[in-house]
């Protein structure tokens, strides 16, 4: 029996354990999974002196309400999140990108993400989770990963294997930037679409639909007309691919995506914009902007440098 643990009073809407994800499994149909917003995942771990590939609690919209039992531990929240900390004598409003120390009986209440989708709760220690294919990331569609591949539930207890001895309090001033344009690289079936359809794709606004989750983001807006074939022979997908089925509404593949698909690919989201894409909540407006491969590579390099720089300052 572990003496340090979390009791889940309220699980939130879609709360899972996530880490870096699992690779080399596309060929049997298993996607990467892992934290949706990688930068915020890394920052959350750094704020509590964890290894950067440690498991964290990812939540979407409403997060969990947790009661902690055990010896003192640090925690931090990354993202754009409203939360509170309930101690014996007081309830305080929490701030993202700061670590806090909690003790036996304290509660963390993640009320909601603010104009975004995902947030990350990291605890300064190691959660006691099962690994499947070298990752504890939960894929709720395939029931793969820790927690029997299911999202967290009310009343469950999560044990900690160890608590970090380094309990230094950390803070950073990171602000999540929003972007209006999502940069994309032309897809392998770009020529399947009418001239008007291509124009609509790059010039019109789309709205993020409610039917969006860790697998994919469905968009609504002007229809993109296909003039060649609305089906292709099923072939591999990667995250960020934008498929357009016969109804003309684009679907963007996200981290738990199907590994194979048969709808034409009009574009692929540039890696540099992925973290910000997944944070766009239903109702948000999206516009796509075309960039070429070499610009996409350079922009990603800069984004990655910025991430490393942020981490080194924590």
């Amino acid at each position: 029996m572990s003496s340090n643990y979390l009791d889940i009073i309220r699980p939130g809407i879609n709360t899972t354990f996530q880490d870096k994800g699992r690779d080399h499994l596309y060929h049997i149909g298993i996607p990467f999974s892992g934290a949706m917003d990688n930068r915020n995942y890394l920052i959350a771990n750094k704020l509590v002196n964890n290894n950067l590939d440690s498991a964290v609690i990812e939540f979407a919209y409403q997060g969990p309400h947790i009661k902690y039992s055990g010896e003192k531990i640090n925690f931090a929240v990354a993202g754009d999140v409203i939360f509170s900390i309930k101690k014996k004598d007081a309830e305080i409003e929490g701030k993202c990108y700061e670590s806090y120390q909690i003790e036996n009986g304290d509660e963390i209440n993640i009320i909601s993400t603010n104009k975004s989708v995902y947030g990350y709760l990291a605890l300064g220690g190691e959660l006691d989770l099962e690994f499947q294919w070298n990752s504890c990331s939960i894929n709720t569609k395939a029931n793969i990963g820790s927690n029997d591949g299911k999202k967290l539930d009310a009343g469950q207890r999560v044990n900690l294997k160890k608590i970090n001895s380094n309990k230094d309090i950390k803070k950073t001033n990171y602000i999540n930037t929003k972007i209006e344009n999502i940069r994309v690289i032309k897809g392998t079936n770009f020529e399947y679409f009418s001239e008007e359809g291509k124009k609509i794709f790059y010039e019109k606004e789309f709205t993020v639909s409610k039917l969006s989750d860790r697998m994919g983001m469905r968009l609504e807006g002007p229809k993109i007309n296909n003039i060649v074939n609305t089906n292709i022979k099923s072939e591999g997908l990667i995250k960020g691919v934008i498929q357009v089925p016969a109804d003309g509404n684009p679907i963007i593949m996200l981290s738990d995506h199907g590994t194979i698909g048969g709808y034409p690919k009009i574009g692929v989201v540039a890696s540099v914009d992925y973290d910000r894409l997944v944070q766009m909540s239903p109702g948000s407006k999206i516009k796509f902007k075309e960039i070429n491969l070499s610009d996409a590579e350079t922009l990603f390099k800069l984004y990655e440098m910025e991430t490393q720089n942020l981490l080194s300052q924590i």
Partner: protein
């Protein structure tokens, strides 16, 4: 052989082996897949073989399109190690509870329900690939008169075990998932088992599958 290599986004290589779907092209894809998988090129983090394409995704922090392309172009793809192909019988129940798209299929194919089942059942299908969702087999080829397009708007939820058709292919939804194929029936078999980390898939590329019809009662009692 690879006819063309292009980029799929900024973190994957799109290797095109042609447009036809047949065992000979598929075996070329598998040959490259096995060779690259064995060599463990630094930065490559996933390989997705399909009928006639191979997608190689890589970690943009470690490598890039140019490097991976150069590597793949100069590779000497070896003949596949002989995989032990199996012949499997899959029970399927086509009761109206399960055959959600039978009316649609009757209309598109201009065949009766009985004729559709007769054409589909008790025939050998080759497994070209697995994926989309974990363990889902892509089987072919269906008879010429059995070929229908995908649904215009994919379903948000297709029930686990659904046996479905599109074009010359059949597949099995190994768990509940979104999907756009025409659903003909349902199997009570577990086609994917994540507790077997080294062999989670019941059906693998190269296997042969035959669908055998079962009644609703047999279906209900199958796992008891």
């Amino acid at each position: 052989m690879i006819k063309n290599i292009s980029n799929l986004g900024d973190a994957a290589l799109y290797c095109d082996f042609g447009n036809e779907v047949n065992k000979s092209i598929n075996s070329q894809v598998i040959k490259y897949f096995n060779t690259i998988k064995e060599k463990k090129f630094e930065g490559i983090n996933n390989l997705t073989p399909s009928y006639n394409k191979l997608i190689i995704s890589y970690d943009l922090k470690k490598t890039n399109f140019k490097e991976v392309k150069n590597y793949v172009e100069n590779i000497n793809a070896k003949d596949s190690i002989n995989i032990n192909s199996k012949k499997l019988e899959i029970p399927v129940c086509c009761h109206e509870n399960f055959s959600m798209d039978i009316k649609r299929l009757e209309e598109i194919l201009k065949l009766s329900r009985e004729k559709i089942l007769e054409n589909f059942l008790n025939k050998e299908y080759f497994c070209y690939m697995t994926g989309f969702i974990a363990g889902m087999p892509f089987l072919g080829d269906l008879d010429e008169n059995m070929r229908a397009q995908r649904l215009e708007t994919p379903r948000v939820k297709v029930p686990k075990g659904s046996v479905a058709l599109t074009e010359q292919f059949a597949n099995i939804y190994t768990f509940e998932s979104p999907g756009g194929w025409n659903i003909l029936g349902n199997t009570p078999l577990d086609v994917f088992d994540s507790s077997k980390e080294d062999k989670p898939n019941l059906i693998n590329p190269g296997d042969t599958v035959i669908f055998k019809e079962i009644t609703l009662d047999q279906y209900k009692n199958y796992n008891e």
